[in-house]
């Protein structure tokens, strides 16, 4: 199902408000709502679900205005970060809940409900655990039960609020991959909220980045990572360092020292250069390079990172350096940039 969110505003008087959010969600896609806490991503998800009533704006399910449709009638599947399983019900009863509360005429027979619940239990790879109570399951298993329960009502869209937030790193990774496979085989339009950029980039077909109650950019993971539309998107998705620079119409300057490229700068005056750690090139000091000093070097899982103080103001930036590179802290170096983007200050 297609979902269109048009100019949604929701004021809480606290963080998480929406200020004119727009978003088009395509049929059968897996889309991530990514943003820092307080950016309104969960609020947007809850507005789509019907758990929050927006102050203004509209939500369309396909071409129908769903803004005033109560949550019970939206046929959505919602999964909470804390699983929200009914503790006094067995796993199978939890999954069957949405079918059991159907009005008499639409409710399938008891055996049908049971079979359907068993089927879903199998789909989430928990066959045989139907008689357990939620507290007897691990966090990852509980989250899969919550997903099966949401799928039982044959929702038109699956909405997941930080679905893996409460799980440890290893389980999170497995569950991510599993959710991707599940999505590919069931084809539900799926929206999930996350503050974890890796999760969004790895899992989603498209990523919507939220900031201050608005959708700032929507695109494929490659697009938002490689072609960020704003300084916020660039610094939120992926590691980024920035330097104050000046554009004099032809050249980009840092403290009067010209850089070897303009990085798409158009407007003159003060702006900022944003670079990824891997796009910073370290070499010996030279006329066409920014003077800098290595402050410290630390090991990461994949390589090494160096904190570098640039210029007279000693602005700290972070660069990726080769494991084998013979560099020590305190050493004066020359910097240049392979890639970068300039955004107005």
């Amino acid at each position: 199902m297609r979902i269109r969110v048009v100019d949604i505003a929701k004021d809480f008087g606290r963080t998480g408000a929406l200020r004119g959010a727009n978003l088009d969600i395509r049929d059968s896609e897996l889309i991530a709502l990514l943003g820092p806490s307080g950016s309104g991503k969960t609020t947007l998800l809850r507005v789509i679900a019907g758990l929050e009533i927006p102050k203004s704006g509209k939500v369309f399910f396909d071409d129908h205005d769903a803004t005033a449709v109560p949550v019970q009638q939206r046929r959505i599947g919602f999964v909470f970060q804390n699983y929200a399983l009914f503790k006094h019900m067995t796993v199978i009863d939890n999954i069957a809940y949405g079918l059991r509360v159907l009005p008499g005429a639409q409710r399938p027979s008891k055996t049908l409900i049971r079979n359907r619940a068993e089927e879903l239990l199998k789909l989430v790879q928990l066959s045989g655990l139907g008689k357990r109570y939620p507290r007897q399951l691990s966090g990852g298993q509980q989250q899969r039960v919550a997903l099966a329960r949401a799928l039982a009502v044959e929702p038109r869209v699956l909405l997941l609020d930080e679905p893996f937030g409460a799980l440890d790193a290893k389980v999170r990774k497995d569950l991510r991959r599993w959710l991707r496979e599940l999505h590919d085989c069931t084809g539900h339009t799926t929206v999930f909220v996350t503050h974890d950029q890796d999760e969004a980039l790895e899992l989603a077909d498209r990523v919507a980045i939220l900031n201050l109650g608005k959708v700032e950019q929507v695109g494929k993971p490659d697009e938002v990572y490689d072609n960020p539309g704003s300084a916020f998107v660039m610094s939120f998705v992926g590691d980024t360092s920035s330097l104050p620079v000046e554009f004099d119409g032809t050249r980009l300057l840092h403290e009067g020292q010209p850089l070897n490229a303009t990085f798409g700068a158009v407007r003159g005056g003060r702006c900022r250069l944003y670079v990824r750690p891997r796009d910073i090139v370290l070499s010996v000091p030279g006329a066409d390079r920014l003077p800098a000093t290595i402050v410290s070097i630390h090991r990461t899982a994949a390589g090494r990172r160096a904190q570098i103080a640039v210029g007279r103001a000693a602005t700290i930036i972070e660069a990726e350096i080769d494991i084998a590179a013979e560099i020590t802290s305190g050493e004066p170096i020359g910097l240049s940039f392979a890639k970068g983007r300039v955004f107005p200050e």
């Binding site: 679900a49 959505i76 909470f80 809940y97 059991r100 509360v101």
Partner: protein
């Protein structure tokens, strides 16, 4: 096998357990034992003969029947009040919350007199009800009103903390799955609250069975009609029939104990099933 001691980081199991037993014996069991001893002079047949006296039977029926009805009424009202006090914000909420405990603090005789004045045929409410031919004061209905009043806090207080602990996402997830509000209350909320509701019911019932002060002023105390067992005990005492009084007391004790035990067992069974209270 009985297992006593369990390893724990908190010390003092021996002393705490010993003191609890000693205290319980001194304060609760000893007086009850004296009661049993006094009644024992009658023998089982003697007690039985008193129990089946029509006037005693009627009083016991009035006491336990009305206590049950009052506890049921308080169960519903108490739940509603607890819900409103926990879930909604409104001016005067804290004040109302404090008012709930007044039946605890008020001498029950005062409550009885106040209620009797209100519900008497010439009282504020009694006069209105008299128009439509309903009599509350000096009938079993009056006893019911008094019991509902004194036992109310018992059904409000145990439920309140549980309501505030309910995770809102459970209600929300129920709604997203298509459940109506009523279904959410019935299948999601109630099962979580039922232990506290049952506890509240048991306390309200126990309180109602034992109530004396407020009832005597509003009941009219007519034998066979609106006479509760505690009144009968006092009457027997005034007639210096100590044995008879203790016999009725013992019967009340046994009935109340059986009822409370049944409720506790129901709780324990539930706990075993779900593994938590």
């Amino acid at each position: 096998m009985l297992r006593f001691r369990q390893q724990s980081v908190l010390p003092g199991f021996g002393i705490a357990f010993g003191f609890s037993l000693f205290y319980l014996s001194l304060i609760v069991l000893l007086p009850l034992a004296a009661l049993v001893a006094e009644a024992a002079g009658l023998g089982l047949t003697g007690i039985w003969n008193i129990a089946v006296e029509p006037r005693v039977l009627a009083a016991l029926r009035t006491s336990f029947g009305l206590a049950f009805l009052a506890a049921v009424a308080d169960l519903f009202v108490g739940f509603l009040i607890a819900w409103v006090l926990t879930r909604y914000q409104f001016p005067g909420r804290k004040l109302l919350d404090a008012v709930i405990d007044l039946p605890f603090a008020l001498p029950t005789a005062v409550a009885g007199i106040a209620l009797a004045t209100l519900y008497a045929p010439n009282g504020w409410i009694g006069a209105i009800l008299a128009h439509i031919g309903v009599k509350i004061a000096f009938t079993p209905a009056g006893i019911f009103v008094a019991l509902v009043f004194v036992a109310l806090p018992f059904t409000v207080r145990p439920v309140q903390p549980l309501i505030s602990e309910i995770d809102r996402s459970l209600e929300e997830v129920s709604a997203t799955l298509g459940a109506s509000r009523w279904q959410t209350i019935r299948y999601v909320i109630m099962p979580m609250l039922s232990p506290a509701l049952l506890t509240g019911f048991a306390l309200a019932f126990a309180r109602s069975v034992s109530e004396y002060g407020s009832v005597i002023f509003i009941a009219g105390n007519l034998p066979y009609v609106s006479e509760i067992a505690p009144v009968l005990i006092v009457i027997k005492l005034q007639e210096f029939d100590y044995r008879g009084a203790t016999a009725i007391a013992l019967i009340m004790l046994a009935l109340a104990f059986a009822a409370l035990l049944a409720i506790n067992l129901a709780q324990a069974m539930r706990r075993r099933r779900y593994g938590h209270a």
